[in-house]
Symmetry: C2
Subunit: 247 residues, 2 copies
Amino acid sequence: MGNYYSNYDKHYVALDCIIFGFEGGELKLLLLKRKFEPAKGEWSLMGGFLDKSESLDDGARRILHQLTGLNDIYMEQLFTYGDVNRDSGERTISVTYYALIKVDENDRKLAEAHGAQWVAINKVPKLIFDHNKMVNKALSTLRSKIVRKPIGFELLPEKFTLPQLQNLYEAINQEQLDKRNFRKRILEIGLLDKLDEKEKESSKKGAFYYKFNKEKYLLYTEKGLLFHFKVKKDNLIKVSSTEDLGI
Amino acid sequence: MGNYYSNYDKHYVALDCIIFGFEGGELKLLLLKRKFEPAKGEWSLMGGFLDKSESLDDGARRILHQLTGLNDIYMEQLFTYGDVNRDSGERTISVTYYALIKVDENDRKLAEAHGAQWVAINKVPKLIFDHNKMVNKALSTLRSKIVRKPIGFELLPEKFTLPQLQNLYEAINQEQLDKRNFRKRILEIGLLDKLDEKEKESSKKGAFYYKFNKEKYLLYTEKGLLFHFKVKKDNLIKVSSTEDLGI
DNA sequence: GTAATAAAGTGCCTTTTTTACACTAATAAC
DNA sequence: GTTATTAGTGTAAAAAAGGCACTTTATTAC
């Protein structure tokens, strides 16, 4: 087998990861200041080349692990970029993934060792090649995904408060939400378990911790039921660029 | 340039196209009975290998042109498949595109010359490799896309009647819609122009033709406004497989 | 030419969902 | 014990979605 293919071109295939984190009430990206050519010294996404013997998903996982030391990262394929002039050198096909991680001090050090930094989503600098385009697409995909799937929890610690969760939604969608309506909607989904414990750092009164009930969620999806995690109606949307939306 | 890469593996990159058409009130796919190895005689999607000098989009366009003779096809990148054992022979990365075309007698002949046939979406046979997975994903993407973007018109002739349009929505979503509510919603979007002409094949009374006003639509999107093309509420969805939804 | 047939076209009312809005509760700091 | 700060709670009005039945138009058959 394989001889059918012998006439065809082969290509470099890269994996680039858009890594989201949530910290200090802000949605952030993990970006690299490149220590190697090409484009040494410029900002870029974390990436690497696909090996012959690994799947795309495995490759993306490997690259995420290299940078963060983490293993069970929530990760989804985003889009594949392949314009002829998209990078310097021989054209490389780039399959992109976005990842959601819980920012943590330990991982932070590993990331810093790679020259990586957390950058607020609205302060992303000029990145090499078409990486800014990738970031924009990842952000708009995250925004539309969060309506359909409870992925926000991937960005928060195991235990979180409702004000924290609301902050996250506000940071992702860049809009203020009504506290009462937010709580009503998010609780009526029925997948949050209230704990007896309170978080007392950020207020005198303290806010109760909640946990996302993953088992219950999986039970529902197995039955073929999916929920909307909408916190706001979205019949008419304003976007800065329709291209970013992939629409 | 290019020497930075010299250590990395190169890969075959294929393009596979999921081609949708609408005919006889049914949503259909253009499928091939393969005339060549590997898997000669089996059903598959139309595909081909990426050339060194073309972008992914150009490659997909080339392949669609080969099969249909058409040039201005609505086409979008769907997903990239790269499991190590996804095909026979050396692993090939497959970048998939879905396309929406207006079925036409002329094109039909060209397609048939390639051994291609239109097959109703719920009668799709077993396809080679992971092509059935691709079809399922394309269908669920089409379903969610049609809510956000007026792409249904890509499947209909220039002039179409409201009953035809409703049939299309019903075929895509596999559900019956109320005539009155459908017309109300689709017309209040304000992007359909009623013509003075009637279609008289399918009823004695005849139904007025409408045209999709693309200029008006582009004007809106340029302003950063997007509409919902929902014809039904979708807070709670039943799906047969969550994987197909890419969720 | 008139009756039968068949699909196109039209409006209103009910239910559900969304939104807007303001006070009380708990605790720590002083 | 007063003050300050954020957590937590319910209701009513507005908007959207959903359900439902008759009239119109033109052809065909007699």
